[in-house]
Symmetry: C2
Subunit: 380 residues, 2 copies
């Protein structure tokens, strides 16, 4: 059995579970650090595991472009290529095709300010990404070359990569897209979901369907109902969310969709990584998360702390002999001062990115430890 539901909270919809793959298990709720181009940036696989993560998520779009899925398959698959022995997920490439491959202007994946909501239009139609019923033609962000993904191609690439968990190819809509566009994109995503289920052949890989529908209640419910009824091994919640009062925020969307997703299968909230959002989502019944945020912030000198974000480049840290967090037991906090980290970032040293990434992932791992403990103890 791929997913085992171990415990349901009585205080919320939070749950403890166990995911079993050919490459080991994951205790849920769990976070996948992002290994975009077959490496969790700045760290070794051993370090990621020692910090406390059981699974990581790599990006199909990036690996298809560089070094190529055929090469990775020839070299023994992604696990072997990148020396990651544990559970591994790949996304479908859909999100990146629309956000990176569309000419950098779609706004997908960005959090919009309230005043921008009024600007909603069908920005999916940017000239560099062309969507038709069969698939998507897009432009490489690396060299401007033209490429095409269809549901069949996305699954084929993910089969070549050989991750344990793979995702159905979906259309991620821009936060600027209106109701009507979201409806069309959702319906297309539903047709693509069925094609993904049909084409998938390789065993030992578990396929997740993705719920879309943007910030609209009616669409989200319809999408969850449709996708949730298909024989996927798990479900992702993707796409964009609203920010004002009139549109569904992440928490609204989860309220709308979770009731339609089978309790016996794991649920993944795609691309959400802020701690408050994660805790909220766990309470609403989400089991899995992935996000580039903790690692990306780290590389830019932003340390996550239990009192919020700390930008180590601020002048106040230049002479400060304290660690970033006093009670943190990560390697950086145990061995280095804020002053040293400030120096490393100003001097553009590689060790800076390592230490910050390690700290942020450490904090994230301990956060998930606590979440699991709270569910176990009936406190969440």
């Amino acid at each position: 059995m791929f997913f085992k539901l171990l415990k349901k909270s009585k205080k919320s919809k939070a749950r403890l579970g166990l995911i079993k793959t050919e490459h080991g298990v994951m205790k849920t709720p769990a976070f996948f650090p992002v290994a975009t181009k077959a490496t969790v940036k700045a760290l070794t696989p051993e370090e990621v595991r020692e910090i406390g993560f059981e699974g990581i998520l790599a990006n199909t779009y990036h690996l298809y472009l560089q070094p190529g899925n055929k090469l990775i398959k020839k070299l023994g698959g992604l696990h072997q290529f990148m020396n990651w022995p544990g559970p591994l997920a790949t996304d479908s490439g859909g999100f990146q095709v629309f956000s990176l491959g569309s000419g950098f202007g779609s706004g997908i994946g960005k959090i919009l300010k309230p005043e921008q909501v009024g600007l909603r239009d069908n920005s999916q139609k940017l000239k560099l990404v062309k969507i038709d019923e069969d698939g998507v033609t897009f432009t490489s962000h690396l060299d401007g070359s033209r490429h095409r993904f269809t549901p069949e191609i996305s699954i084929k690439i993910q089969e070549d990569l050989g991750a344990d968990i793979i995702f159905a190819f979906d259309e991620a809509t821009s936060p600027l897209a209106d109701y009507e566009y979201n409806r069309k994109a959702m319906e297309r995503t539903h047709r693509w979901a069925k094609r993904c289920l049909k084409i998938k052949k390789r065993t030992g890989q578990f396929l997740f369907g993705i719920v879309q529908g943007g910030p609209f209640k009616e669409l989200r419910k319809a999408s969850a109902q449709f996708i949730g009824s298909l024989p996927f091994d798990g479900f992702g919640v993707g796409g964009s969310y609203g920010v004002g009062d009139s549109l569904g925020r992440v928490d609204d969307v989860l309220d709308w969709v979770i009731p339609y997703l089978p309790e016996s299968k794991p649920r993944h909230l795609l691309g959400i990584g802020y701690l408050n959002d994660i805790k909220m989502a766990v309470k609403k019944g989400i089991d899995l998360f992935d996000c580039a945020m903790p690692t990306r912030l780290g590389r830019h000198g932003v340390f996550l702390t239990n009192k919020g974000e700390m930008n180590i480049l601020r002048p106040i840290h230049r002479t400060d002999n304290q660690p970033v967090m006093k009670n943190c037991r990560c390697y950086a906090c145990q061995n280095y001062s804020r002053a040293y980290l400030n120096h490393l970032f100003k001097a553009n040293e590689i060790l800076a990115a390592r230490l910050a990434t390690e700290h942020n992932l450490w904090l994230m791992a301990r956060f998930f430890d606590r979440i699991k403990k709270e569910i176990r103890m009936g406190k969440l």
Copy 2:
């Protein structure tokens, strides 16, 4: 006792020794990986020690400019600042003042082609670095600001940093400088050497004098005789060497100077890191080395191997599932293929620099293990 001579080879002037500092010992012959800005680029201190190095060398010029020696002193000294508990050396800043601080045009530290030797002139006189009897005024390579080093200032900075081994402030001449200029610079270096000995106050730090004289036999002998007679704790051989037949190469220079350096004190060949040169120099009686080469080459994708340098970015490595070196037991060779390393470098991933640095230093450490073993067994 700072230095203990343990064994002298009967086949050459090679020797085994032991350096004792307040922060631990170093078995010589030994190599100092370079920690220019208070970090061996891409690695943690623990990794450097696990690879097999007992000491590292940081750069006074860089740390004076960023983050500043006063700050490092206030934060407990360089050992604590950078979390390096073992033996630590700092250079005098002299070499960088002339090579980096002189407007990037001096050619110091570069290996010249034979046809360039005819171009020798007094390029030390470039407008951005001004030398007088008292010291040197130079321009920061970071922001163009003006600074001044004298022998007294260099020692003060090195006392603030607090390394176990420090160096006298010397004038490094350009490979383009002629005999007459080298003579003047050498004599100034000799006067500065005495000032360094006079001003040094802090205990627990061992001061090395530096032999100069460029590629000229008469000057090198005079310099070794003079510097070797002063009460330094050890001696460095610095400056530039010739490439043609008419001027002294590194091996010639060592033949000239070693006989004048007291046997009871350690000898450091500054900035030389190619394996053949190191072996040659050990045979001529050198105990200590430092060089940015293995780490710098690594960051640019060049792996040192027992068959020469391998540029992992070459297209031939793109599909190659072999490790860089079959019999290498470093972390990179044990776990990753050339294809993966080629991918990491092309994708500009931080892990690329880590793995290549680790491999190159590993190779270097094993090379020094073998050198010590060969001396011990009477084979070198």
